[in-house]
Symmetry: C2
Subunit: 343 residues, 2 copies
DNA sequence: TCAGGTAACCAAACCGTTTTGAATTTTGCA
DNA sequence: TGCAAAATTCAAAACGGTTTGGTTACCTGA
């Protein structure tokens, strides 16, 4: 059933039927009701392809998830982020077009997405330091929102981000207040923006307490259980071992916890851990009581915010460079305690 | 730059230019070269919206990922699956349209995807026992491929699946051969098809050895670290504790390992673990040496296969009900060893 | 030389909507 | 009652490609 058939059945012109269904005012209520009823009765669904061509809008948002050749990892938070964003899109009648692209082809992907008119806007994932995508998208004049920020990019652009710096500063201060002085940072790869900011927050706090940063206590690596384990194990084996760990993800935290227990120590008593918890649906930090003390911020909520922002920019109801900085909560769990007395 | 402009620049008709670019034979080589060169020079990209309307094909595949209200979990394997599938789509010039939908709206989503012509085919994720989606899609006549199978569905349909039953049978037999007699199964939720098959494989092996199945050694739950930990802890505390665990995911395995170590036991010596390893990019089972003995099967590869199969069905070059059963490898890691002698 | 075939190209129709500009009907008011 | 204004409705033109059904020019062979 298409518009022409439907309008023919009703003895009306396609124009009127289209207007009736799209809520235009220049159609009488009586007619509108008739049309709506008939549309429903015949299960008329307007053809997306035609709408898109006629309106020029793609009614779709693109998510371009980079797949780094270097580490071949699909960002594990993106599933939840997209779940949040998708909620908003479907509410607004938009589709979500997903491209997972090796970073070498990224530029081409954006260019094509634009010149072929496949999407009306784009969400940028995993921004790096001085991310060149921002300049590219600005040049192409595609509406876009970055999930995160790109340190070093001086151009204005829209983003939704967690206050990583403040979160890690606060977490570090919390540990300092508990008497910890040797605090390790097990961070993500530091060409990713969030990792840079987290380190900065960590350093801010140390500096604020007049403590020097020990390069041996800071690592930047892929965020896997194994890496968490290895780095923690190595650090714990050293003469001047840390008494606390700050971990950039839950999964690292699991590895660190294992290293602690392997060393015959007890987490929360001998060694403290704070993780950053993205509230991933398949990786909960305990159900009722949190396992780890954590800086917590929902990635799914970030997805919702970013989507809403982008839709606003596309509809031109939001100002074009918009920003949203989400604050992380500090959740106290069982993984932190006062620093043990020096022996 | 659109087709009309380009053809005007070339002094040719849109027809000829379109044909030249799409490789039709009724255009001279000389002309084709000129056209291709001009298209490249002016960076002409045909408008997706117009192609779609003109050809009637959506040039897009839909992935509908159910979001269960019951457990609110986005399937964590779907990111890697989609990474594999996406590779194939972009090669074929297809887009990937993603819908993450609360399962209550699933039916409606499929119906609309079809009647509005948004996609040419669909991948069905996380099939359940007697999944009603299969009948629905068949009725709607949308080409589709299921990732997994739906026990109880007697209609023929296309799928790509791992031989979960055989994998878990083999893993159980491996443990039996090592002398284990009390083997626990920490499974996923058993309304999901894969979990049903895994349990069946496990039971097959026990039965093959004339061993009774102990209901106390079988649990079915969400696959989280915490649940792995809790269930293992509970089982280990019992008088007749298991000497080996079979875990439906890596993440469960991490929890079980923690419970083992918490109990002062050593994995691989006192208690054995075998996990199923989907080779998720962000959750590697060790880098060089596997941590866990595992039944291994790449979810990303499954994504590639499913996508290829679906594209074939859409293009009508593949038979419509096609099947692909992937065998899992049994990888020997450090988490298994001979059953300890009874005290 | 001419009929018939073929290679190369083109005009116009089509895909199913929205939107523009105009025509028709109804209403309100003098 | 008549007429301008407002309310409805409609025909036709987009949107930007593909496809159908020709047309033209050039060969080929009798």
């Amino acid at each position: 059933m298409n518009l022409k058939e439907l309008s023919h059945k009703l003895g009306l012109s396609p124009t009127t039927v289209s207007r009736a269904l799209n809520g235009y005012p220049e159609v009488s209520e009586a007619t509108r009701e008739k049309v709506v009823a008939a549309a429903r009765r015949h299960n008329y669904q307007p053809n997306t392809k035609a709408i898109r061509l006629a309106t020029g809008r793609a009614m779709a948002v693109g998510h371009v998830v980079p797949l780094s050749n270097r580490h071949e990892i699909v960002n594990p938070i993106f599933a939840d982020f997209i779940a949040g964003a998708g909620e908003m899109y479907s509410r607004a009648g938009y589709d979500l077009t997903l491209s997972i692209v090796p970073d070498a082809q990224e530029t081409r992907t954006y260019r094509e997405l634009h010149s072929r008119g496949t999407v009306d806007g784009v969400i940028v994932h995993s921004p790096l330091e001085n991310d060149r995508r921002i300049a590219l998208l600005q040049e192409l004049e595609i509406p876009f929102v970055v999930h995160g920020r790109a340190t070093g990019s001086e151009l204005p652009y829209s983003w939704v981000d967690v206050n990583n710096r403040r979160a890690f500063k606060r977490a570090t201060e919390f540990l300092l207040d508990l008497g910890h002085r040797r605090i390790a940072l097990i961070n993500g790869l530091e060409f990713m923006d969030f990792a840079i900011r987290r380190r900065r927050g960590y350093l801010d706090a140390l500096e604020g307490h007049g403590l020097p940063a020990d390069p041996d206590l800071m690592v930047s690596d892929e965020m896997t259980e194994t890496h968490g384990y290895r780095h923690a194990q190595r650090m714990l084996a050293r003469p001047n071992a840390p008494t606390a760990f700050l971990c950039s993800s839950m999964i690292i935290g699991l590895g660190v916890r294992r290293a602690i227990e392997d060393a015959g120590l007890k987490m929360g008593r001998d060694i403290s851990i704070i993780i950053h918890d993205d509230e991933l649906s398949y990786m909960r930090n305990g159900d009722d009581v949190p396992i780890f003390t954590a800086t917590r911020s929902s990635v799914r909520e970030a997805g919702r915010r970013a989507a809403t922002m982008l839709l606003g920019i596309i509809a031109k109801t939001s100002p074009s460079p918009s920003h949203e900085l989400l604050e992380a909560d500090l959740i106290i769990g069982q993984s932190t305690g006062p620093a043990p007395k020096a022996p």
